[in-house]
Subunit: 198 residues, 2 copies
C-alpha cells in the first residue's frame, strides 16, 4: 500500500477478490441473490467469467462469500456509538439498522428467504449475524443498565429481534404507516418494555 | 346423523375424509410434515393407500388438507372468551396458543419451515392463519379499548405476532428459561406496551 496502484492491474489477488466482493455486495443491495449471477458480476467488473470462477469456485461459494461480507457490513454499520446513555446508543444502532435495510432491501429479503428456506450455509450466516447483533445488546450493556443478562432476557431479546426485523421490513415496504421517528421509538423502546414484563 | 353409525363402515365419504383428516392432524402433532406420509396414515387408519389417494389425490394435497384443518383448529382453540376485560381475554387466547404450540410442536415447526421455505400453498395457509389471528385482535377489541385500529397498529401487531411466535417456540423448546406465567405476562403485556410506543 506504499504507492497508489492502478485499480485494474496492480492489485494482489486478495485485494482483487475483496474488490469483487464489494462490487457483489453493492449489486445485491437492489437485487435478489438469484439475480446476482457470476455473469452479472463479470459484466459489471469487466473481467471474464473464468476469472470469477477462479476467485470464487462456483456460484454457491460466490453467494456465500458475498453474504458473509454483507453480514459483516451490517454488523459494523449498526455498531452503537462508544459513549452515551444505553437507550440512546440502542437508538443510534436501530437508526443505522433501518438505514441498512432501506438501502439493501432486495438483497436483505432474498437472503432472509434463502436462509429460512433450507439453504444451510446461508441459514448459518443469518443465525451468526442474529447472534452477533443480539449478543451485542448484552456486551454493550455490560452493567445491565438497560436489561440484566439472564437466560430469560436472552430469549426475549431473540424474539424482540424477530419483531424488529418484521417491523422494519414492513415499514421499508410501506413507509406511510408511521414516521421514521415513530418506528425508531417503537423498536428501541420495546426492548426494555418487553424484557421488563416477564 | 340420526342414528349411531359403525365408525368403520357406515360413514359417508365426507365424514370418512374428515375422520382421516382428524387422524392426520393428530399424527402431525408429534411428527414433521415429511414424516406424515400416506403410508403412515394408511397404517394408522387401517385402510389401503389406494383409498387414501382416492380421498386426497396426492401427498401434497393431503398435506395441504391436513394443514388447513390444523390451522382451523389453531384459530378455533385460541378464540378468546366471549366476555371480560380486553387484556384478560387476550391472556386467555395467548394461554391457549401456548398450549397449542406445546402440544403440536413438531408439526407446527415443520409447517413454519415449509411455509418459509417456498412451499407456496403452505405459505398461503400460514399467511391466512396469521391474518386471522392478528385481525381478530382488532375485531375482538372493536371499541379500541386495548389498541386503536390504525394502519400503524396493524403493522405493529403483525410484528408483535412474529415476536410471540418466536418466544413461545423458544419457551416450548426450553421451558426452564422462565415460568409459564412470565411467558404469558410477556406475550400479553407486550401488545399494548409496544403499540403505545409509536
Amino acid at each position: 500500500m506504499s504507492q497508489p496502484t492502478s485499480p485494474r492491474t496492480r492489485l494482489r489477488p486478495d485485494q482483487r477478490r475483496a474488490q469483487l466482493l464489494d462490487l457483489g455486495v453493492g449489486l445485491l443491495a437492489t437485487r435478489s441473490l438469484d439475480e446476482l449471477t457470476i455473469d452479472l458480476l463479470a459484466e459489471e467488473a469487466g473481467i471474464s467469467r473464468g476469472l470469477l470462477y477462479h476467485y470464487f469456485g462456483n456460484k454457491h461459494a460466490f453467494h456465500e462469500a458475498v453474504v458473509r461480507r454483507a453480514v459483516d457490513d451490517l454488523v459494523e454499520q449498526t455498531a452503537p456509538p462508544a459513549g452515551g446513555e444505553p437507550l440512546d446508543r440502542l437508538l443510534a444502532s436501530m437508526s443505522a439498522y433501518v438505514d441498512y435495510v432501506a438501502a439493501n432491501h432486495e438483497g436483505y429479503t432474498s437472503i432472509l428467504k434463502a436462509a429460512q428456506g433450507g439453504n444451510e450455509a446461508l441459514r448459518g450466516l443469518y443465525d451468526e449475524a442474529l447472534a452477533s447483533l443480539t449478543d451485542r445488546i448484552f456486551t454493550e450493556d455490560a452493567q445491565g443498565e438497560l436489561i440484566a443478562d439472564t437466560p430469560a432476557a436472552r430469549m426475549v431479546v431473540r424474539a424482540w429481534a424477530a419483531m424488529v426485523e418484521q417491523l422494519v421490513l414492513g415499514w421499508v415496504e410501506d413507509p406511510t404507516t408511521m414516521t421514521r421517528d415513530q418506528l425508531l421509538a417503537t423498536v428501541t423502546g420495546s426492548l426494555p418494555a418487553v424484557v421488563s414484563l416477564g
